[in-house]
């Protein structure tokens, strides 16, 4: 009899719910839940285990099934019987809890309300690494949804045990514990502080050089979630001596390790100029630039934002970014990438680099960035956000740019809002530089300026007047539109002197 029921329900598990996609079959499986429920109270331990496993698989597959499992009142029974059972049952029960909690915050709340957190903490204290892993995973999926649930997890006293789990030798356990710490600390600074107080940073920092790629992903993600909240937390992370080890992560073969490494550096750099200075001094900027050059797609995004943040703090840092050859990869990003948000980030970063002084603007303009930005701004397919960022970047750079050959090509196709800045710059530089005046005439710039129609009294008109005042009357008249007609009319009306 025992064998029979065991084998019957093991066969139920082998027809795993993954193969079934139909709604009426779902309804059938829901009734299976009510069948499985009494088996949880069976005398034979294997039957209990297998029943729990079946419930877990059902809940894992679909939200409705998970809700059915919760509604059938299985959770209190599971939670109550957990401490006396053996390690296989504990693992399976943790699997069930995690399968339910992963779908939505309400289900996770239901799991918490059934008193699962204390039992999961008991599981975390167990000796078997598999049980610990199951419990960690369940905590992870619960804490992921919102700050209140994370707070509940922290109040259950899970954090010190998680920090202990990180130090265990099994890689899978380390991975999942790091992921849990990351999900707990991502919600708010207080939670991050709790994680830091448990001494997590030192252990996480020690695991950065580990060769396992998935572990590195989780560790870097955890550190970046901690560092992102405030300057103090970022300084604490930096004090754990992650530089320059983190830079080796930027050269890893796994794309997501690179992305998370760049995210970590970005979160540290964005808080204050001193931290950015530290990163520049340790060569972080060069590593990030190389990383941007070698990746494609969303993986580049944190690196681009990091360069923008570093350059935004002060002009010396911005010059350091320029000197580390940061502008060509950013320009390449602008041109190559298809996603709008990455282009917007690249445009923003270039704006931050070029906005400080004329030198910076010259470097940025020299990389042939301005026509690209203008194209993006004018392009109808760009999203609103992208257009706005491109415009702001253009404005910032143009207001400082005194390098006229770079401004030249923009004259010809700029829309009026940008034109005013370009003409403004010309009007500032031309009165003082005679060679530039000559060049301006020969390259057809003066002609273009005459063709611009501006409202009288507007800023644009003032700039145009300032430019016209730099040149003698004849030239201005020569280049004004319709001059050839005027001349021809004069020819027509001329009475030849016989």
């Amino acid at each position: 009899m025992v064998r029979n029921s065991q084998q019957c329900y093991s066969s139920a598990n082998f027809i795993s719910a993954e193969h079934l996609d139909f709604l009426h079959v779902l309804i059938t499986w829901k009734s299976v839940v009510s069948l499985l429920r009494p088996l949880l109270l069976d005398v034979v331990p294997s039957v209990r285990q297998t029943a729990a496993l079946g419930l877990g698989r059902l809940a894992d597959y679909n939200v409705d099934l998970a809700e059915a499992v919760v509604k059938a009142g299985i959770l209190p029974q599971l939670v109550r019987s957990l401490p006396e059972e053996n390690r296989y049952y504990k693992k399976t029960a943790a699997f069930v809890l995690r399968a339910i909690a992963k779908h939505s915050p309400q289900l996770a709340q239901a799991v918490v309300q059934s008193g699962a957190l204390e039992t999961l903490v008991i599981c975390l204290e167990d000796f078997d690494p598999g049980v610990k892993e199951g419990a960690c995973w369940a905590f992870d999926y619960i804490a992921r949804h919102n700050p209140e649930l994370s707070q509940a997890v922290v109040e259950a006293g899970a954090v010190p045990l998680l920090v202990l789990c990180i130090q265990e030798p099994e890689i899978a356990l380390k991975r999942i514990a790091a992921s849990t710490l990351s999900d707990i600390s991502k919600h708010s600074p207080e939670l991050a502080q709790t994680v830091v107080d448990a001494g997590a940073i030192a252990h996480l920092a020690q695991m950065i050089p580990n060769p396992d790629a998935k572990l590195k992903r989780q560790v870097l993600s955890a550190l970046s979630q901690i560092a992102k909240h405030s300057v103090d937390l970022a300084e604490l992370v930096v004090e754990a001596e992650i530089f320059p080890v983190v830079l080796t992560c930027l050269k890893d073969s796994d794309e997501y390790v690179k992305k998370n490494g760049a995210t970590l550096i970005r979160e540290i750099a964005k808080h204050s100029p001193e931290l950015s200075q530290l990163i520049v001094n340790s060569g972080g900027v060069a590593a990030v630039i190389d990383c941007i050059g070698s990746c494609r797609g969303t993986v580049r995004l944190p690196g681009i934002m990091m360069l923008g943040y570093v350059a935004a703090h002060s002009e010396n840092l911005s010059m350091a970014v320029i000197v580390s050859k940061g502008i060509p990869p950013l320009c390449a990003c602008l041109i190559e990438e298809h996603e709008d948000h990455i282009k917007a980030a690249a445009a923003w970063a270039l704006g931050q680099i070029g906005r400080h002084t004329a030198e910076h603007a010259r470097h940025v303009a020299g990389a042939n960035v301005l026509p690209t930005l203008l194209d993006i701004y004018v392009d109808t397919r760009s999203s609103e956000d992208l257009k706005m960022k491109a415009k702001k970047a253009l404005k910032n750079i143009l207001q400082k740019c005194t390098h006229l050959p770079a401004l030249e090509p923009l004259l010809h196709d700029a829309p009026p809002s940008i034109m005013k800045h370009i003409i403004g710059q010309f009007s500032k530089v031309l009165p003082h530089d005679s060679k530039a005046r000559r060049l301006f005439v020969t390259t057809g710039g003066l002609k273009k300026v005459q063709e611009i129609k501006a409202d009288a009294g507007s800023l644009l008109q003032e700039y145009i007047n300032a430019i016209n005042n730099c040149y003698p009357e004849e030239i201005v008249r020569f280049y004004s539109p319709g001059y050839s007609e005027i001349l021809l009319e004069r020819v027509e009306s001329y009475q030849p002197v016989l």
Partner: protein, 361 residues
């Protein structure tokens, strides 16, 4: 009065004169009084006039003085201001130069910035080269791992297909007579040992538990298949039972009760472990005594003599050839033991505190 006196002029001019004379004394008094009052008036008026005039003059002078004062103040003001400003301009000049110098030297030091940027680029180049080396190292490691894996695969294949080795009479498939030299596979076959049929268990059950249980992807194994007997074996001669039956009986799986199977503190496990421990602890020799028939098969498991009996290159003769120490003098020295620790004074007195009267010396 005049009319009355005029009317009575002819007859009354004498009377008028008398009347006038009567009033003469009064007249004098009147005249005196009138002059006196006028005099006093005049004095008062005079004093008043003087007062007024003095006041007015004083006011005028004061006004003039005030005006002068104001002018003086104005002029002094302007003068002092001008002087201070001149002085200030001189000071300002100095301060300007000082501030420019200070800012250029310490705050916006152009040359320091230039040096810093150069240092940054040098550091960047260094970091880049280091990272490049790291990447190359990783790639090399991966390549080595791949190569090793391939080598292992090849060797395993060679061992498995050892029967394809060419013999004296028949050339194997890798050693075609039309080739100039044998195929590398042939050489590999020559160097490899034939694979014995028993392969070691690769997966440990512990690893299986860890990685598959939490994801609950692999089901708990319910072993139901029986081990099959080898194919085509000759039935051994003699009154033996059927091989399949024998094997079934011999390899019948353990069917412990569930209580025993699931509890890690089961007495069966403990008993087994106890026996194992005893066995591990007791033997003198690690390798069990091997049967002679398989002596040549497993050549790497040779008989190793015990440590006590093996000398540097050969087995020691002591214990088999001779049993007594040959050079006794090696071990007997003429020097007595050297005391390292100073003797305890109290113990020196042992047996010597009392007299030696009763002792046999």
């Amino acid at each position: 009065m005049a009319a009355a006196s005029g009317g009575r002029e002819e007859g009354g001019s004498m009377a008028a004169l008398a009347r006038l004379q009567e009033r003469l004394s009064e007249l004098r008094e009147e005249y005196f009084l009138a002059n006196r009052s006028i005099d006093e008036d005049r004095k008062i008026k005079y004093r008043a006039a003087v007062k007024i005039q003095s006041w007015f003059r004083g006011w005028r002078v004061r006004a003039y003085l005030r005006h002068l004062n104001a002018m003086v103040i104005l002029i002094q003001k302007w003068w002092r201001g001008y002087r201070c400003r001149k002085h200030f301009r001189k000071m300002l000049e100095i301060q300007k130069r000082w501030r420019g110098y200070y800012v250029r030297k310490y705050i916006h030091n152009y040359y320091a910035l230039k040096k810093y940027l150069q240092a940054v680029s040098v550091n960047n180049a260094f970091v880049r080269s280091e990272l490049q080396e790291y990447v190359e190292m990783k790639e090399n490691e991966e390549k080595m791992k791949d190569l090793e894996k391939k080598e292992k695969e090849k060797k395993y294949q060679a061992r498995k297909m050892h029967y394809l080795l060419s013999t004296e009479q028949i050339a194997g498939i890798y050693n075609s007579p039309f080739r100039k030299s044998p195929d590398p596979m042939e050489l590999l076959l020559r160097n490899s040992k034939p694979l014995s049929h028993r392969r070691k268990q690769v997966k440990s059950p512990f690893a299986y538990e860890l990685y598959d249980w939490p994801t609950c992807k692999k089901p708990p194994a319910f072993v139901t298949a029986l081990p099959l007997p080898p194919i085509g074996r000759q039935k051994p001669q003699g009154p033996f039972r059927d091989t399949a039956e024998v094997l079934w009986q011999r390899y019948k799986p353990l069917e412990p009760t569930l209580r025993v199977a699931e509890s890690i503190n089961s007495p069966l496990e403990k008993a087994r472990e106890g026996i194992k421990r005893e066995e591990w602890r007791n033997p003198i020799h690690d390798n069990e005594f091997l049967p002679f028939s398989s002596y040549h098969k497993n050549e790497d498991e040779k008989y190793e003599p015990s440590l006590c009996k093996s000398g540097k290159y050969v087995r020691e003769a002591y214990g088999t050839k001779h049993f007594r120490e040959v050079y006794p003098n090696k071990w007997i020295a003429d020097k007595d033991f050297r005391t390292v620790v100073p003797s305890i004074f109290l113990f020196e007195k042992f047996g010597k505190t009392y007299s030696r009267a009763g002792q046999i010396v």
